[in-house]
């Protein structure tokens, strides 16, 4: 991963995170809001591979943890794993147009279960069947709905930067 692309990833994640806490989380949507940062991490992983996905996930997760009320490292772990897994699908051969949607959906479910599993491990009283069910019914579909607006844009930006740096 080259310097400009790293910079692009960091800037996108920072902007995404700010949008998440100031705009997305307070949209008057029924259920729990979409996770823009997660979709961004997956988009980078799909465009650039497992290593980029993992590093983007790490930065995004640590920053989100710092701004949030839970223990440091929890979202970082989730985003790192999801970024890695999504990055494994980064492939030069032609892939179906539906693939990003499937990956984001699976990534959102995986992220939710990972976070909930950690909560059980750490004894977090906030984690229960109620919130998990609610997120499965609302946040996951919202994340999938965000996909066509985020994944192609990130892919385009990555191609541009790669084009200029060779």
């Amino acid at each position: 991963m080259s310097g400009p692309r790293l910079l692009l990833g960091a800037a996108a994640v920072l902007l995404g995170l700010l949008l998440q806490v100031t705009v997305v989380d307070r949209l008057p949507l029924p259920g729990s809001p979409p996770d823009l940062v997660l979709v961004l991490v997956i988009a980078f992983a799909l465009a650039e591979g497992a290593l980029s996905g993992m590093l983007t996930g790490l930065v995004a997760g640590l920053l989100a943890d710092l701004l949030g009320p839970h223990e440091l490292g929890r979202l970082a772990l989730v985003y790192v794993v999801v970024g890695y897994a999504a990055g494994l699908l980064d492939d030069d051969r032609e892939r179906g147009a539906l693939l990003p949607f499937v990956v984001v959906g699976a990534g959102a479910v995986g992220a939710l279960l990972l976070y909930a599993g950690q909560g059980l491990l750490l004894g977090d009283p906030r984690v229960g069947l109620g919130p998990v069910g609610r997120a499965l019914a609302s946040a996951v579909p919202y994340d999938v709905a965000l996909t066509p607006f985020v994944v192609p844009v990130v892919a385009l930006l990555c191609r541009r930067v790669r084009g200029t740096t060779g």
């Binding site: 989380d25 993992m54 701004l67 839970h70 440091l72 490292g73 750490l122």
Partner: protein
């Protein structure tokens, strides 16, 4: 495949994150608290400026789908207003009576509450698990950890993490939130109200002295502690668990404040100070 599969790095990062989370479990006493303060100094100003502007715009946007219901709302509010006016008159009489009694007992409040006005600049955490908001005030404004936060009709939550310029507030629906509570109509009742997620609270009434007052529609207020002001309205009882014969009664509580659309709130930094009470000789 572009680039190798960095499996080893994945394992290292996952383990590092787990260690971080375990180290950070201590909350405010965590060794990583300094790091959070640093993040607050950097992100605080940005979040404050962006969040403030977005909050106002978002509020207007959120109102759009509800325009149709405004007419019905207006009529309902009119009725409610009339009813409240009538009750206010009744209350005035009772209040005068109460003042006289209080004067007799020399129970005078020496001051009123000190509050700091704050704006919600972000909803935080990994929803729906964490239920917190970020405010644009902090230690510099006199806010400390554990203070009650109120809005319009009642309690919103409690400050849990206070930075120099921003504060994270646990909403009262957060499952980690618990507050001592009593029924407004039964001053001797005592129980604990805890967040249930999903924007409701559960009440466990421990002291059954006035258990008869535990009815649907009854108002719940804070019981008060050294950091928490007493008498702050929390919410309305929506259903009572009918299991009789138990030593603890439980009920569901709906908060007075709409936690989904918070904008301006107040942090109660100091409760009313009461003067030393004059002993009344037996008559």
């Amino acid at each position: 495949m572009r680039g190798p599969r960095p499996r080893l790095l994945l394992v290292v990062l996952v383990l590092a994150c787990l260690v971080l989370a375990l180290v950070d479990r201590g909350g405010t006493s965590s060794p990583l608290a300094a790091l959070r303060r640093g993040a607050d100094t950097v992100f605080g100003p940005v979040q404050r400026s962006v969040g403030g502007a977005v909050g106002a715009a978002g509020g207007a946007l959120g109102d759009l789908p509800r325009i149709g219901s405004y007419r019905a709302d207006r009529e309902r509010l009119q009725r409610e207003n009339d009813d409240l006016r009538r009750r206010l008159l009744e209350q005035e009489g009772l209040q005068a009576q109460g003042r006289e009694l209080a004067d007799l007992l020399a129970l005078k409040d020496a001051g009123s509450w000190t509050t700091v006005l704050a704006r919600v600049v972000g909803y935080g955490g990994f929803q729906p698990f964490d239920q917190t908001v970020t405010l644009d005030v902090g230690r510099a404004d006199g806010v400390a950890e554990g203070q009650p936060v109120t809005a319009g009709r009642g309690l919103v939550g409690r400050t849990v993490r206070v930075g120099e310029r921003t504060t994270v507030v646990a909403l009262l629906s957060d499952p980690a939130f618990t507050v001592g509570a009593r029924l407004n109509s039964a001053p001797r009742s005592f129980g604990l109200a805890s967040g249930r997620g999903e924007r409701t609270l559960g009440l466990r009434l421990v002291d059954l002295a006035d258990a008869g007052a535990l009815q649907t529609g009854a108002a719940l207020v804070t019981a008060g502690s050294d950091t928490f002001v007493s008498g702050l309205p929390i919410g309305r009882i929506t259903s009572v668990d009918a299991t009789a014969g138990s030593s603890v009664r439980t009920a569901e509580v709906e908060p007075y404040v709409d936690l989904g659309s918070l904008d301006l709130v107040q942090v109660v930094t100091e409760g009313p100070r009461t003067t030393a009470r004059v002993p009344v000789p037996p008559r």
